[in-house]
């Protein structure tokens, strides 16, 4: 190995646990959720409310088990919410209240 250090869980190059896993080459349709999250990210980026680097940081901050359980755009959505709180655009309390609203 290149080092004795254990890589971060998103730093997947050569990761032993995936070396024997076949790649699922079948097409998968995107959902409405996927397309909306992708569009939300583009709008926030164009408005300079969140950079791609902040998006990446937020994705990497997701704990390992969750990181692998969540879908690609679910990771994005969690990172976007994380960054909106970090930047003070929304507060955690506001988001909690809105998410809990039936």
């Amino acid at each position: 190995m290149s080092s004795s250090e254990e890589p971060a869980h998103h730093d997947l190059g050569g990761a032993p646990r995936f070396m024997c896993e076949a790649v699922d080459v079948r097409p998968h349709e995107l959902t409405d959720f996927d397309r909306d999250v992708d569009a939300l990210r583009s709008v926030l980026s164009a408005k300079k409310v969140m950079s791609v680097d902040e998006l990446r940081r937020g994705i990497e901050a997701i704990p390992e088990a969750e990181y692998h359980r969540l879908s690609y755009y679910e990771r994005w959505m969690r990172s976007i919410a994380d960054n909106m709180i970090r930047r003070g655009v929304v507060t955690e309390g506001e988001l909690q209240a809105e998410v809990s609203r039936p």
């Binding site: 190059g13 959720f33 409310v49 879908s71 690609y72 919410a81």
Partner: protein
């Protein structure tokens, strides 16, 4: 419970509502952006490749400044990361991956395919690339050097595949029709079959 652990759909709804209420964005802007991506003409990258196969000046432009070559085909690149293009030859084959996330030349190729974002693809491309290619039905001759491009930073990378033999008389439209997104990532090779 940490609010970030809420269901993705609930977070999307809540964030969209809060950001609209605060005047950060409107739901119409999101819908407009989504529709722009969904309605982008398919095959934009394929047309760039076909033109590069038939026009030496365009090929040179594509390889030296991918973004300007995309703009020359009316693909909007403003605000997009710069596009780098790597040429496959008799001696070198390129394969693009992003081991750290899933960087992909979306402005040219559209949404990234499922496999491109998968942990197995990201892990294996830089360590077992020939085994990985075999799962896409691609077998490279051993004398061809494989250069795996880990898209780690500010560029987005696409591959200029080799023009298949026996296509000398083909029109640019017919050439563009055989170029698939995977050919421009390097997992497959254009064929005339």
């Amino acid at each position: 419970m940490n609010v970030l652990e809420a269901d993705g759909a609930a977070l999307l709804k809540a964030i969209t509502k809060l950001l609209s209420a605060k005047g950060v964005l409107t739901e119409a802007e999101i819908a407009q952006q989504r529709s722009a991506v969904d309605n982008a003409p398919p095959g934009q990258g394929a047309r760039m490749v076909a033109r590069a196969w038939t026009d030496a000046d365009y090929r040179a432009q594509l390889l030296s400044d991918g973004s300007s070559a995309a703009e020359a085909m009316n693909i909007p690149m403003r605000g997009m990361p710069p596009l780098g293009v790597l040429e496959n030859t008799d001696e070198v084959h390129h394969l693009v991956v992003c081991t750290l996330c899933s960087c992909y030349p979306k402005a040219i190729l559209g949404y990234p395919p499922y496999w491109y974002k998968s942990a197995a693809y990201r892990a294996r491309a830089v360590r077992d690339p020939r085994g990985l290619l075999a799962e896409f039905g691609t077998i490279l001759p051993p004398q061809v050097k494989l250069r795996v491009v880990d898209s780690t930073a500010d560029y987005r990378w696409m591959v200029l595949p080799r023009r298949p033999d026996g296509t000398q008389d083909w029109s640019i439209e017919r050439l563009a029709a055989i170029v698939r997104p995977g050919d421009m990532v390097g997992v497959t090779i254009p064929t005339t079959e």
